[in-house]
Amino acid sequence: MSVTKSAVRTGVMLIAGWALAGALALAQAPTKEPAKKDPNAAALAAEKTRLTALGLKYKTAWGLFSALKEQAHGGKPITNQTIPDWEGIYTRTKGGTAFDPDGPEQGETPLGHFTPEYKAKLDKSVADRKKGIEYDPLSQCNSPTYPRWLDLPFMREFIVTPHQTTMIAEAFNSIRRIYTDGRGHLPAEDQFPTETGDAIGFWDGDKLVVHVNSNMAHMYERAQGFYSDQVEGVEIWHKVDANTLVANVWIYDPPALVEPWYVRQSYTRIDDKGKTLRINNWSCKGNSNNDVYETSDGGSQHGKFTFEKQGSAEKSK
């Protein structure tokens, strides 16, 4: 395509106008119509206060899980006739990739209460991010691990059967299996770290209550804090309306958190009336333009692109 000076001038003017319009919009923000308030905001805030306090009553995730099970009189197994309808493709309702959907956006300090050691690690990662220094092990398509699984973007499926619920995240082909057949965890001496944890649960009506242990140390998300290999979770999953699956989650991690971190995760069923959506496997090997490596200063960089000209390799790894 040919280049003309007028086209360049037009482009610059358009961009300048765009930026100016944006700046004016920001300047005029106070006069804009206020954002619509969530009519359920007060009720959700009260529920969050109650559930946060519930977590604080128990020193361990297992303690909370056991209390919930006792309260449900051990739970009642579902049958093929009483399986809740969780069919469909879902995606996270809000939160971006921040672990706590009610917390600040990724890049600002999250709401979890970290121990001094883990707070220092978090603060450094937040400060480094602001300086443009950041690397994520998931760049190599490693497992996101648990509880990071909960805040992954993209699509998800939930497959419920009487004896097992299978949760599939499109990202990183990451699958969780929650056993509801009455089994317990492996004996402590036989437990070992797993990529998405060892999860057992029971049904309390149409609510799935889960305990997760045997996890790996990792990060909640980039600049969202780190967890140890002692992290455990308790979850209560519930379909609150035709298109919304909610998980109330308590994270316990004594090395990293001074108190359990309660978060309300929510997943919305995607309208796929055209039946065009597909959950396809991920592979970091399928397109070399997606190669990302860690730089010597702890940052991230793309490898050599296939579309780069020959001779530009000195700029790449």
Binding site: I15, F154, T276, E308
Partner: protein, 126 residues
Amino acid sequence: MRRLALTWAAAALALAPLAVAHHSASMFEAVKTVTLTGVVKEFQYTNPHSWLIVDVKGADGTITSWGFEAEGPSTLMRAGIRKSDLAPGTKLTITGHPMRDGRPAATWIKATRADGRVMDPHPPKE
């Protein structure tokens, strides 16, 4: 090179998230955008990221292939962008956050085909 504009666009940034979920976006300029006009060379519709390769002719006639990174196929499908929408030879103008190191790559913010169709690779909220 036909670089229509390289500008700081902080005011527009809130509307243009860096589309990189499986890796950090730190290799891209968060507060600069580049807008180019060219022809689609290839649409790599792949996980975990898709790449739209666009040939851009410079003032001296030299062709530079630029890569624009977006999320994978499921996100593009939800955004209404199919592989056939950007077949090789399609003329367009595209805006993205460029690489910090100056290589010809950027995150894809918005593309406008010659027929006027605007393609934002970020799906609408459900």
